[in-house]
Symmetry: none
Subunit: 138 residues, 4 copies
């Protein structure tokens, strides 16, 4: 599992990556149960990014894959995507911008971002996971 | 920030623009946090326009752009759009017809309309912002 | 029915009454179908008052009585009150602060306020209805 | 307004206070519009505390008072409390454990905690606000 110190280090590393990319973002760390562990919204990021980052992080934590994989999978099945989003009360967010977090091959959570393009959000999250000595794959 | 007098002037100017366009509309003014400041639904506009105008105004206030920009951005990402709409409890409305409101370069709210075509709604809102000495861009 | 001019006159009179009472409030005018016709939130009133005023106005428009009557009626039936609130998606608000609006004995809408005590909210609304030559009773 | 650095300092101070009290908690910082700025859930705190802390912080940010004040106010009005909770999609949380955050007399957000008793949660939040040179009153 992720400790709060782990989560705060992830947020700190994600902020550093976001600053290098040049776009303010919000980042959310979810535990493997899809519950919020820590969140930070950078100055200048619209407040709605706090919600979107959570949705993406939830999606990676729930499935153990980058949220982009769910975007691709759901692309030809919009009605199914809508159903999962509705049944999870708006949590399921099949859009690029989050990665799962693995430690020693075990899924320990998800890290999601919002504020840049989907690719920028994912790049910042992936960089943060690596910087913390964790992995985005099992 | 917008005072109530500002908001009522915006609504009054939007009604004037709507009358010139020739279609009754509802108009909503949101504060920068996405909360309703003032609303007016013109005689002859269907009651659901009050809800739609709020959704569009919310979208402009939340992102600081015309809601049409979110329509364009979300066009290839319907599942992502559905997720944001769901996570915001139906507020996110990626459709033409609202503009952000800036004063001295600061985002102070959003003005959204409904009742005409999206383009007519947006034209009325943009005209109102200009008539009040405010701006739709930073 | 209420025209938008009627609704704006009600809001204007309610603001005057609120100023005399000395507490900033938000006011909402609902049509007889429970749909928002006009709203104004005074400077200094918390943004949540925009939502609460709508709920009270809805309650008066839906039942044709002051929302305080629903407060009294529902007091011994909390589970029933909760059910109506839930089935109406948070609209039913059994609390003092709104009055129905009658013209020539016909229910034409509801006027609700929020920001002061319930009694202050209701007093401002009732004063506004009277000032506009309308009635709070059939 | 609160910067993210302000928010992270508040969370850090709240964790220190929580450790002194001896109970792990989650803490949430809301901006004045009721949108999440930062959150941290301490090791050992149940995951649901992340949601509860947000609800309390929202309540303090929305009304500019300790959430305990809304608990006291709503105690004789359970049906009204239910209505506000429903209309705000579960955000309104009239329970002890959060304080508003003022800077130079201006409401800049809310800090809420969950995990201990309501009084412990509020004590940790109030201590954090003071430690950061901010105030819980205007």
């Amino acid at each position: 599992m992720l400790t709060l110190d782990d989560a705060l280090r992830l947020l700190d590393a994600a902020r550093t990556a976001s600053t290098q990319i040049g776009v303010p973002m919000a980042f959310a760390v979810m535990d493997p149960g899809g519950h919020l562990l820590a969140l930070a919204r950078m100055d200048g990021a619209p407040w709605v990014t706090s919600d979107v980052a959570q949705g993406k992080a939830w999606t990676s934590a729930a499935y153990g894959v980058p949220s982009a994989a769910q975007k691709d999978k759901m692309s030809p099945m919009p009605n199914f995507a809508t159903a999962i989003t509705a049944m999870t009360h708006g949590r399921f967010t099949p859009q690029t911008g989050a990665v799962p977090v693995y430690r020693d091959g075990v899924l320990v959570g998800g890290l999601g971002g919002s504020g840049g393009t989907g690719d920028q959000d994912e790049a910042a999250c992936a960089a943060a996971v690596e910087a913390c000595g964790l992995s985005t794959t099992a």
